[in-house]
Assembly symmetry: C2
Homo-oligomer: 375 residues x 2
């Protein structure tokens, strides 16, 4: 079985403004590590069980040249662009078509290719535990042809994630188990119920399946996309190692006809051969600035400080100074639960529980004359 | 009568970090006007009633070259440095000695020179009302030889200022009246009593007197300083238009013997020929960042924004972006009563009621290895 990994790296990273920019979204930030960008961490994490030439990245056309110029250690022809910004289902269809064609050139049929779908911008400590989890998920997907998702044992009543309901049976560690239902992002009350019930897992957005299984699943449950997979394969046939400046030739027209739908909603919630493996690694999707205290060890006052700073009489603050040359300091005095981020082009200050609203800043800058230059 | 003005501009401006720096303290900031620094505003305000060649600045040795290189419109030899950082009494003694000697060269005796002592960093709108007030104070000081201070009608129970007690009698506008007592900075309760009583004024730190009157007053009430005035005059004799790189030659040794005392405490509280003129202009000493909403017109949410910024869902905030090239924006979301100031070398974030504590930031930077470069 040929194991491959597809890293979805199309994010535009507005939630980490001002550090993230259109040409430097979250996955290209040194956010959770001083030594590696998040996408480099993602590649390093899967590399023990997937060879570099079998690791792929799907990104947007703006980021394609940026990513290909980075020393990521994978072949540049393994980095491709979506022709249009779409939700995950079209992206995964494109990736599955690429893999089917690429490995067909080597005589490997889709039934013999397994595929991990990974996010480029999640925080996962304990890479060894990640590899053990991924190996188990690969094995389950390869053996049964099922669509395997990774579930995360919840640690708080989070309303920002979807949930996976299991039967709640006692299982061996890393044993795949059936999914009873998928649950959309819940209300606060419902999230607490999920947490208390003990049989709900966070939907991590990471998947493992055989290429034939995902193509068949899309054909059955998402025919508006499934009907285009042959066309995508046709466009890619003989061109799986092209290095176009944008998306693969011929894919734009095909993509334009596809519905903008997530793989969770379009496939996972509809299919009956879905299984979940409970991840054994600590995980955070690092969705906004207020996630940093979960990722880093806060000091005794609950503060996280990255970069040159002075923190006085303050508690539970996130202070990020990304002026790389350390020519600027950030001083906070007397603050509680405040996020302060400074970069050469922008300063953000907001309460931690408003960190999601940095999107409003990005929107305001988009509509303000001259505001684009700060994005 | 020769009217002169002495602007005391020795402040080190720590309270406006990061905008203020050692070589650019508050008086050299474009803080209350986009077009003029505070010292330029001070000069422009008194210029209608004192000729440029009769306006003097006393500053510190660090700032002397900076100020002399500025196009302030007064002769560079009218800008002198104190040899040591001292409270106001030695500074005023030096200024009085300089004026006595400078105008003696023109045959004008000290009895024929009146002297306004002004701060370089106060906010005064309505310059016409300032001139009317200053003219009245000059006239009172010139006619009677009394020591005239400007009192400000209080608008809030401020605990940060000293107060002047008057008899509370009804007077004609701008009529000088006797001072009953000087009161140190009061407690909050006492400040409220002062406000309610209606006969207390804020001590503005601006004075008007004849040069002979202040020299005689210092001789009588501050003999430790008065005994040195002749020595200061001796050092300055024939050298009142020198342009030394530091303090006037020979003054350092004299200054070193003087007590570090304020003119309020050393002279005004002790003398019996003290009068006060109630200022008719709006005034603020702009003591810290949280003063800006008193100086500028806040928007309907109570916010003050200077420079490029995005303010969302916030109230009563002070947002100052002094990156002159507008390459940086400052975005605040969901904040109340917060001060945010950004400059190329520093970002400050604190609650408005902690704005005084920026001193703690300066102290922390002074003691932190490498911190000096942010000051």
């Amino acid at each position: 079985m040929k194991r491959t990994a597809v890293i979805m790296a199309g994010g535009s990273g507005e939630r980490f403004w001002p550090m993230s920019r259109r040409t430097q979204p979250k996955q290209l930030l040194y956010l959770t590590s001083k030594d590696q960008t998040m996408i480099e961490e993602t590649i390093a994490r899967i590399a023990p069980i997937v060879a570099p030439e079998d690791i792929f990245i799907v990104t947007g056309e703006v980021l394609l040249p940026v990513m290909r110029s980075m020393p990521l250690g994978i072949p540049p022809e393994n980095i491709i662009a979506e022709p249009l910004k779409r939700n995950t289902a079209p992206c995964i269809a494109l990736a599955a078509a690429l893999l089917a064609e690429r490995y067909a050139e080597q005589g490997i049929p889709a039934t013999d290719i397994s595929m991990a779908v990974l996010a480029a911008d999640h925080f996962i400590s304990a890479p060894d535990l990640f590899c053990r989890t991924a190996d188990a998920a690969f094995s389950a997907a390869e053996a049964t042809g099922s669509l395997v998702t990774l579930g995360i044992t919840p640690t708080r009543p989070e309303t920002g994630y979807g949930y996976i309901e299991t039967a709640g049976e006692t299982r061996a560690e890393l044993e795949a188990e059936p999914v009873v239902s998928f649950q959309e992002k819940p209300s606060a009350d419902r999230a607490q119920e999920f947490l208390d019930a003990g049989k709900f897992l966070w939907n991590s957005g990471m998947f493992f399946w055989r290429v034939d299984a995902v193509i068949n699943g899309i054909a059955q449950h998402l025919p508006e996309i499934g009907s285009s997979i042959d066309a995508l394969r046709g466009a890619l046939h003989g061109h799986t190692r092209d290095l176009p400046e944008g998306a693969p030739a011929g894919t734009r027209e095909i993509f334009a006809t596809m519905p903008d739908i997530s793989i969770d909603y379009g496939l996972m919630e509809r299919a009956d051969n879905v299984a979940v493996v409970r991840a054994i690694f600590p995980w955070d999707d690092v969705g906004s600035w207020d996630a940093l205290p979960r990722v880093f060890n806060a000091d005794e006052h609950g503060n996280i400080a990255l970069g040159e700073s002075i923190i006085i009489d303050s508690n539970n603050c996130v202070v990020v100074n990304s002026n790389a040359d350390q020519s600027t300091t950030v001083a906070v005095v007397g603050l509680d639960n405040i996020v302060v981020v400074t970069t050469p082009h922008g300063v953000l200050v907001c309460p931690a529980n408003r960190a999601q609203d940095v999107k409003k800043v990005v929107q305001a800058l988009q509509s303000k004359p001259g505001g684009e230059k700060f994005l």
